[in-house]
Symmetry: C2
Subunit: 232 residues, 2 copies
DNA sequence: TAATTTATCAATCTAAAGATGTAAGACAAA
DNA sequence: TTTGTCTTACATCTTTAGATTGATAAATTA
């Protein structure tokens, strides 16, 4: 069963007026999409997005007035189910990474063949996320690089392994911002006992105070809820 | 100018002996790669990797004895410049994400056409990172989802925005484990001034002590080196 | 069984942290 | 000019944190 699909409506944002015209012409002539608006200003673009509710926005990410990435973030926050495809002159890995991170559904280079742009729009219009193969490879190199450093750091020697089970419990409560009294109350032991544990923790982690202990714990894989989601 | 390239040497690790045989046959007959070893055990596989130094490992990620992902991590730690391609029966987004995170250079489903596997090996052998289009899309959905939650959390109301520039400097030094004296020394101001700033920070962040302030800062986007690399 | 580790608790002391109030000079906005 | 905010600074006081030493019972390991 094939459901009815209306033509996707597209908004173009690009500070280069020539390129803007070119893309509009391309889409109008070579595809079945509607260009519902064009602008050379990111700020105006955001307003047009609110007004026309396009299905897709082609956004230049290299604009002087306002950063394209910032514009994408603002649009994403509106939760209007608008899918943004980045247009960029550069295949900078960091740019690609940040764009995908904040929710871009595609990233296409201006230097790529026009057929590739149309294909990207087709894919994104169909609900997919699309990156050209070459950019995907660049993305993953950057992605893996950013995690490799983390791995190297924590593979030196993790002093946390020397902690006893009880000390880990105490440290866990420390990383939640508890003071001695709070920890004692939660573990049903005396405050002086907590002090003993905490002092032993300091010795083992080779730190001077609780803040440093907490920082060591967080930087060396002591899972605190949030980050655990991205942990292996 | 085209440099000489010797045939890439491949090690196969898959606890399913039938599948192992099939893949070996495929590679031997349909490609120009050398299969230098096969094993159904992840642990033996790691030893074979050390011994034969293959260029590429095809690793099943769903094994009972030892998790394939764990095996990949151990191999990556050896720094032998071995490129690992995951073979999996499932297109589970979380699995794909974790595999790529720990350094897999490719991820191919067992259900995919054999030509696709050969193509993946070709790409990885050529130094690229390869994910089939369908899996790339899944990866990005997962990737974006994991960051969207972060964005939502910090979009409640970030008390950090109320801090003055100087207070941010002080907080930054706090998040590095400095005490009053350390901060005073680094900012060339008196210790009492630091106390004033710190107290104001506590007020604005609505916390009781420095540990809580540091935790608030870290959980609300206050960039400390490491994480800054992944921040927008 | 003897030795070791772990978890518990206490007393004591010093140093550091935190609360509170006050205030002067710089600077920008109204 | 006045108002307000920011940065700097000090004094005083209370509370908390941290270091050190010592001790006991239970559990583990040699």
């Amino acid at each position: 069963m094939r459901e009815f699909k209306r033509k996707s409506r597209i908004l173009l944002i690009d500070d280069n007026a020539d390129h803007l015209r070119g893309v509009k012409e391309l889409i109008t002539l070579e595809s079945s999409y509607d260009v519902v608006g064009t602008t050379t200003s990111a700020n105006i673009g955001i307003n047009l997005a609110k007004k026309y509710r396009p299905d897709i926005i082609l956004m230049d990410v290299n604009m002087p007035e306002k950063d394209g990435l910032q514009a994408i973030q603002e649009i994403e926050k509106l939760n209007l189910d608008i899918r943004v495809i980045c247009l960029s002159g550069y295949d900078d890995a960091d740019l690609i990474f940040r764009a995908m991170k904040i929710g871009a559904k595609g990233y296409v280079l201006k230097t790529m063949a026009s057929a590739q742009l149309i294909y990207a729009i087709d894919e994104v219009a169909a609900g997919k996320i699309y990156l050209p193969t070459a950019l995907t490879s660049r993305f993953f190199e950057y992605f893996q690089h950013s995690f490799k450093e983390e791995a190297n750091i924590s593979s030196e020697e993790n002093l946390l392994t020397y902690l006893t089970a009880r000390e880990e419990e105490v440290l866990d409560l420390l990383t939640q911002g508890n003071n001695y009294k709070g920890i004692a109350g939660k573990l049903f032991i005396s405050e002086t006992t907590v002090k003993t544990h905490v002092n032993n923790i300091f010795q083992k982690l080779q730190v001077n105070d609780r803040t440093q202990a907490v920082l060591y714990a967080l930087n060396n894989g002591f899972a605190n809820k949030r980050r655990a989601k991205l942990a292996v």
